[in-house]
Amino acid sequence: MTALPPKSDVKLGLVIDLDTCVGCHACVISCKGWNTENYGAPLSDQDAYGENPSGTFLNRVHSYEVQPEQGAAQTIHFPKSCLHCEDAPCVTVCPTGASYKRAEDGIVLVNEDACIGCGLCAWACPYGARELDQAAGVMKKCTLCVDRIYNENLPEEDREPACVRTCPSGARHFGDLGDADSAVSKLVEERGGMDLMPELGTKPVNKYLPPRPKDQGNEIDILAPLLAPIATETSGFLGWLDRNLEKI
């Protein structure tokens, strides 16, 4: 049913730290790796080794340059995947009921057996989180690794989304954003986690932590005087060497 479920208390999602993301794209690769072998149709590539390769990905890393009014510009790496919105416009537009939001944990999923590949959900999503697989003809999107997080066949430390598990800089966090005491909720609270395109009213579950303020270039460290060169006149062995080299 493509009506949104009643508001659930559990809101599983990701918290992405734009301060620590180094833009390595490891999450992109681990996501493609896990999701092409598991839930639903594989994530196909077209012309993978040819002139114009393209393919389906559920997670992509953009990079932006931000220029403050004063001071140096900053580069910010920006991973983007489904935000599992509370008011998900992609769900209600679906004509077949293939697109749905789970009542129990808020994950937005596609039932590929009911998808007609009309692409309307991808049009309704502001974030570009859905891609129509060109080989299977069905809509693909982040599943929050629903086949990992509850999977008791995996060691406990692997029961989190592949992108979170693989991130080498700890920039991705997974948890219940509906629980105010969860580690992710506290992180959002501490760091001022934000929504993307809040004006569109989608109420994303995933939050982004803004980059921490940068040091100002004109601040001089109190240890700086100690770092200044202290020997202006050379003496001893180096002095002797210096003088003799001059003579040659």
Partner: protein, 292 residues
């Protein structure tokens, strides 16, 4: 947005077909027998042909029947349900007109209303999308429905109604273009709100996530054809509105003038609908630094 030929073909042809059915349903023209058959044949060919062409747009059409299930929330599903209902009810009415020389008025009026509602549901598929500010406006359904009604009037020979109607449609079209040109910037969605980085400063795309293209760029960040948009708009309004009005003014009830009026109108609607898609900007383009 990518102006997919199947979707343009669908929305133009089925719009005209359902517009014709709406007039036929209220007994205009009051035909029976073989001449009624001709009118119904054309109306069904357009509306059903349009619906079939829309299925070519689907990636996985084998599940199409499921698309009738979600009418409570989905405009696309509502469109499917209304289209089938309109075609069924009008089919009953057509049988009466063709084989029994009678017009079952009650059936016809219901069928006519369903036909107009079908076109309205089509327009709402686009108008509902907040992600495409150019479409997300009441002028979208007004334009689609009025084009269908008065295009249908032309096709069913209601030339006087069509002539006055086209004046209105032309004004609505120009108004819609005028409004929609600033709708993206007025929507308040920018690369700063998209990334949430506006507090720090001015945001610029530094490096895209992929060097090649992808589904998102092909489908929603379509940029070809904007260069000639102003010329195409002029061509669209001349073909869709001005020439048909002139032809009707010169007495296009039958014959070559009527054919010119119809062909010109249809080609003009195609041009207008192509622009409707090609000019529409999806907010996801902001993430790729392609807007504003």
């Amino acid at each position: 947005m990518h102006p997919a030929p199947s979707v343009i073909l669908f929305s133009v042809l089925s719009g005209l077909g359902f517009g014709m059915l709406a007039w036929l349903g209220i007994g205009k023209p009051p035909m029976t027998g073989f001449s009624a058959f001709i009118f119904f044949f054309v109306a069904y060919a357009l509306s059903v042909g349009g619906l079939l062409s829309a299925t070519f747009h689907l990636g996985n059409p084998k599940n199409s029947l499921k698309a009738f299930s979600q009418w409570r929330t989905s405009w696309l599903s509502r469109e499917g349900c209304c289209a089938v209902a309109a075609l069924t009810v009008m089919g009953v009415y057509a049988i009466g007109a063709i084989f029994f020389e009678t017009h079952w008025m009650f059936v016809g009026v219901i069928g006519a209303m369903l036909s107009v509602v079908t076109v309205f549901t089509t327009s709402m598929i686009y108008a509902q999308l907040k992600t495409v500010p150019r479409w997300n406006h009441w002028s979208t359904p007004v334009l689609f429905v009025s084009l269908s009604i008065f295009g249908g009037a032309l096709m069913t020979g209601q030339v006087t109604v069509a002539m006055y109607g086209f004046v209105a449609v032309g004004l609505i079209q120009i108004f819609a273009w005028f409004i929609s040109d600033s709708s993206f910037s007025k929507s308040g969605t920018t690369i700063e709100t998209a990334t949430g980085l506006g507090n720090i400063g001015k945001v610029r795309m530094f490096e895209p996530p992929h060097t090649g293209t992808n589904y998102l760029l092909k489908e929603m960040v379509y940029v070809i054809g904007r260069k000639h948009a102003a010329k195409l708009r002029l061509i669209a309004i001349i073909l869709m509105i001005v020439i048909p009005i002139l032809m009707i003014g010169m007495g296009a009830q039958h014959g070559i003038k009527a054919i010119i009026a119809v062909l010109s109108h249809v080609v003009g609607v195609f041009a207008s609908r192509w622009l409707f898609f090609a000019q529409a900007e999806h907010v996801v383009g902001l993430y790729y630094g392609k807007r504003g």
